[in-house]
């Protein structure tokens, strides 16, 4: 525990917490690092915590740094203690970045029970450190009262869709980055900038992140927005106008954005971390994560059922870039894209 001193008045400028090098962690506290919306009331994290604590003699604590996995990459590179046992919510691009930034391994290859039941096309780590636990699919959400389903990437360049699309900044937003990667996947690394130039000429708008983009869509600033194919899971029920929540897959595809979990190489409790990971792959946990996180289960044959089963749409053909395709390329792709947009 950290001791806090509270002083106030002139010049009392800092509290200094001193923790011994021993780490001070008890054997039975599992520290899970994740993003903030995975924790709290009605979240997957909260359910996992209580269910896991019921079965194991351990306490689960969450750490949710604002800058996500970057916090731990930087800690490792600065020689500061990592301070967590596992990370939940890792995607391919982040894993590539961690490996490119660091000489040492941030994550350990973990032999997780149940990892072989994960849908093979979702596995994104060639070294099997990260194990997928759910996936989202990026798609369009559109207002069928305003536009037809465009259906293809090329259709988005037509006059009918002028000023019609709101996307997100790939430099800071997950769906924005996934949508950009999807266009690279379709148009090729040599031609995607030309495609975006045409898209820009047709009035695509790129806002900072998912919330402002969806809020602008809700305010009818444009008839289409880049979002998730699970959109209707939220928006069904009495009196909801479903015509504004149509999911549009382009080229009959959706870009898969699997989320993985990985044990830190410096974990104090590696065994407990692996137990937690395999617990997240059990059928009960997979269903719960899907419902709370509104993402698809990663394990073969798990059906969440209920409203999720009814309203969550899967693309006919999921596409995604592999780790090897992204390594060495993705940062350059994103920066070139951003320069193209700004200069246009």
């Amino acid at each position: 525990m950290k001791r806090r001193t509270f002083l106030s008045g002139v010049g009392a400028g800092s509290a200094i917490a001193v923790a011994g090098c021993s780490g001070g962690q008890s054997e039975t506290t599992l520290t899970v690092a994740t993003y903030s919306s995975f924790t709290g009331e009605d979240s997957a994290g909260n359910w996992l915590k209580s269910a896991f604590e019921d079965e194991h003699d351990a306490t689960v604590e969450f750490k949710t740094p604002e800058n996500g996995v970057n916090q731990f990459i930087q800690r490792k590179s600065e020689g500061a203690p990592v301070g967590a046992d596992l990370y939940v919510g890792l995607n391919t691009v982040e894993l590539v970045r961690a490996d490119e930034q660091l000489d040492e391994q941030l994550f350990a290859t973990a032999d997780v029970e149940g990892a072989d039941s994960v849908k093979s096309r979702l596995n994104f780590d060639p070294e099997d450190r990260a194990v997928p636990y759910d996936t989202g699919y990026i798609s369009l959400v559109y207002d069928e009262g305003e536009v037809e389903n465009p259906g293809t990437f090329d259709a988005l360049l037509e006059p009918a869709y002028e000023d019609g699309l709101i996307a997100q900044n790939a430099q800071q937003s997950d769906p924005g980055r996934a949508f950009l990667l999807w266009t690279i996947h379709e148009k090729g690394a040599d031609n995607y900038l030309d495609y975006w130039r045409d898209l820009s000429d047709n009035g695509v708008q790129i806002l900072s992140d998912w919330e402002p983009a969806y809020n602008a869509y809700t305010n009818e600033e444009a008839p289409m927005v880049v979002s998730y194919s699970t959109d209707q899971v939220y928006y069904h029920g009495e009196g909801v106008d479903m015509s504004r929540h149509q999911v549009g897959f382009l080229n009959d595809q959706g870009y898969a954005n699997p989320e993985g979990m990985a044990q830190f190489a410096d974990a104090d409790n590696p065994e407990l971390a692996r137990e937690f990971m395999s617990f997240m792959l059990t059928e009960a946990a997979q269903k719960q994560i899907a419902v709370n996180n509104v993402q698809f289960p990663a394990v073969e044959g798990v059906e969440p059922g209920g409203d999720f089963g009814k309203y969550a749409l899967e693309p006919p053909e999921p596409v995604t870039f592999s780790y090897d395709e992204l390594a060495g390329n993705v940062d350059g792709w994103i920066e070139d894209w951003a320069r193209e947009i700004v200069s246009n």
């Binding site: 950290k2 806090r4 509270f6 002083l7 002139v10 010049g11 400028g13 800092s14 509290a15 200094i16 917490a17 001193v18 923790a19 090098c21 993003y35 903030s36 919306s37 924790t39 709290g40 009331e41 009605d42 979240s43 994290g45 909260n46 915590k49 604590e61 969450f62 949710t64 800058n67 916090q71 930087q74 600065e78 500061a80 970045r97 900044n169 430099q171 708008q205 790129i206 806002l207 900072s208 992140d209 919330e211 402002p212 809020n215 602008a216 809700t218 305010n219 009818e220 600033e221 979002s227 959109d231 939220y234 928006y235 009196g239 509104v294 940062d331 994103i334 951003a338 947009i341 700004v342």
Partner: protein, 564 residues
């Protein structure tokens, strides 16, 4: 508070510097150092590559251009407000004066919500225009809406600083000019305006720097096509390209500090002793039916109408959004959500009440720390010595450094900690947050206090010193009581900046226990339990507005009562 002996000032200076070093200079220095060093060896490579890149030339040029437009807009919108508040008496004037600072505390995501609801394609302005057969006005995703949003944030700064200066204009001088046959306009130009100029320039310089380094609002309303340097800096930090991020940050800081230094040189020539001023009597704004035909008043009424659209519109829209569903039906779901969060025992839940309490506590703490710090800096600034201006510029540096650079520096130094004698020392938690807020806020205190201190008649202090008072006693007993209005203004700024601060707070907070209102609000934007909408965040935003409104009225009242 201040020790009653001659050593108090040096102690104050030392304590201020120590705080600054720990939570500002050391963290920022650690980042900026990586702009010119590579693995411990000095290098100019990152600097050369940025300075030689035509893309960055365009980016800096556009950033400066939009900052200039935003500054002009903020002055155009803020100046008549100062005239109205300083020269006219009307019901609610004091309240209005207290709450002009509200825009300061609003997180950008909420401003984006309010602006879309007001100025968007289906916003209120277009609805009204449609009724009278005009429009629609397409403002979303344009430079215009960014400039408007910047004016929303910064015009109040102009209003507050200029109002304070206007109220201290010596009426005797204006009356003398009028008796000597000057027209009211001539009297204004030759007597009043020169005394307003320093405050107006302070506000303009600060606005330019803030809008130059503006980041979230640009992308949330305008889009990536209208990127600023700060957008790029953030992207470099995201991809952990820290050398380039540090380089951009260093260039930004150099430009801002240079501007501040030039401005301070100018200001030092403007500080002149004035007699004690009683302030001029205010004219009633409403003077029967005649006020309806008086052109000056008619212009003011038109201005008030425009200000209602720009300031009250987005704020009211925000409140309206917090009680309506996306389909436009009335709902209390979002407030129920707040109550549910409050009742929750789940790990990682950010509860609204502790967030309110934390915000108020940190705000009070920051105020109590920033006031003495600001006064110390002002005392240093009003002394004439070689290099005073340079010192003052360096002590004003917190205004000139991008929030992203400071955040990155704090992460690497305070949060990660350093190893000393086998112990890992980290500086986080409530006290660190208060210190960080105070450092962000004290320049506003000194920007308010320096001109006021500088205008005190030196003979008063000299007389006190001759009668045996030491420097500190003279400051506490003679000077500070004379600059109480400036202290109150500074206190309000300090509180506002603390309440609105997000970046350092979220870094230094340990888990959800130290969450403040903006942090809670940000957490609720990511909450999907009510579907993907910003309803819960707008409810929290409304709570934030209510709590801060009451606080600012109280600060003003308490301060004024203490002054009686």
């Amino acid at each position: 508070m201040v020790l009653r002996d001659g050593r108090a000032l040096p102690v104050g200076v030392a304590a201020t510097l120590a705080t600054l070093v720990v939570v500002f200079y050391y963290p920022v220095g650690s980042v900026l150092a990586s702009a010119v060093s590579d693995a411990g060896r000095p290098t100019l490579a990152p600097l050369v590559s940025v300075l030689g890149d035509p893309f960055y030339h365009d980016l800096f040029a556009f950033t400066a251009y939009q900052a200039l437009l935003s500054t002009v807009a903020s002055v155009v919108v803020g100046l008549p407000g100062a005239y109205l508040l300083a020269r006219f008496e009307f019901p609610g004037r004091r309240f209005l004066r207290s709450v002009t600072i509200l825009p300061f505390v609003l997180p950008s995501i909420m401003v984006a919500v309010g602006f879309l609801a007001m100025f968007g394609r289906t916003g209120l302005v277009n609805d009204v225009l449609a009724v009278v057969g005009l429009g629609p006005v397409e403002l979303t995703f344009t430079l215009e809406i960014i400039v408007l949003a910047h004016a929303f944030y910064n015009a109040p700064l102009v209003t507050r600083l200029v109002t304070a200066a206007w109220e201290s204009v010596d009426p005797a001088r204006v009356e003398t000019a009028r008796t000597l046959g000057a027209t009211p306009l001539r009297a204004f130009r030759d007597v009043t305006l020169p005394q307003l100029l320093p405050a107006l320039l302070t506000a303009s310089v600060l606005t330019f720097i803030f809008t130059f380094m503006s980041f979230p609002i640009v992308l949330a309303l305008g889009g990536l096509q209208l990127s600023t340097v700060e957008v790029w800096l953030f992207a470099r930090v995201q991809s952990l390209d820290l050398a380039e991020a540090a380089t951009l940050g260093a260039i930004e800081t150099a430009l801002s500090l240079g501007l501040i230094y030039v401005y301070l040189r100018f200001e030092a020539t403007q500080l002149n002793a004035r007699g004690e001023s009683r302030g001029r009597a205010r004219t009633p704004l409403f003077a029967g039916w005649r006020s309806l035909v008086d052109p000056k008043r008619l212009a003011l009424f038109a201005y008030v109408g425009a200000a209602l659209v720009l300031f009250v519109g987005p704020l009211v829209s925000l409140v309206v959004e917090s009680v309506t569903t996306p389909d436009g039906a009335l709902t209390l779901r979002y407030y129920e959500f707040l109550l549910a969060q409050q009742a929750s025992t789940a790990a990682g839940t950010t509860r609204p009440l502790p967030a309110i309490t934390n915000s108020l506590l940190f705000g009070a703490g920051a105020l109590l720390l920033a006031l003495p710090m600001g006064v110390v800096v002002s005392v240093v600034a009003t002394r004439e010595r070689r290099g005073s201006r340079l010192w003052e510029a360096l002590l004003t540096a917190p205004l000139a450094v991008s929030g992203i650079v400071l955040g990155l520096g704090m992460l690497r130094t305070l949060v990660f900690g350093t190893t000393l004698f086998g112990y890992r020392i980290t500086v986080t938690g409530p006290v660190a947050i208060v210190a960080a807020h105070a450092v962000a806020a004290y320049p506003f205190v000194s920007r308010n206090v320096t001109p006021a201190l500088g205008s005190i008649d030196d003979r008063l202090v000299d007389a006190a010193r001759a009668l045996g008072a030491d420097r500190t006693t003279a400051l506490v007993d003679i000077e500070l009581p004379l600059v109480v209005p400036a202290l109150i203004a500074g206190a309000a700024f300090a509180f506002a900046i603390s309440v609105g601060e997000f970046d350092s707070t979220v870094l230094l907070a340990e888990g959800v226990d130290s969450a403040t209102m903006p942090v809670a609000l940000e957490r609720y934007t990511g909450n999907r339990s009510l579907g993907p909408n910003l309803g819960p965040a707008t409810a929290m935003g409304t709570v934030l507005l209510a709590v801060t409104t009451v606080s600012f009225v109280l600060i003003d009242r308490v301060g004024t009562g203490w002054n009686q």
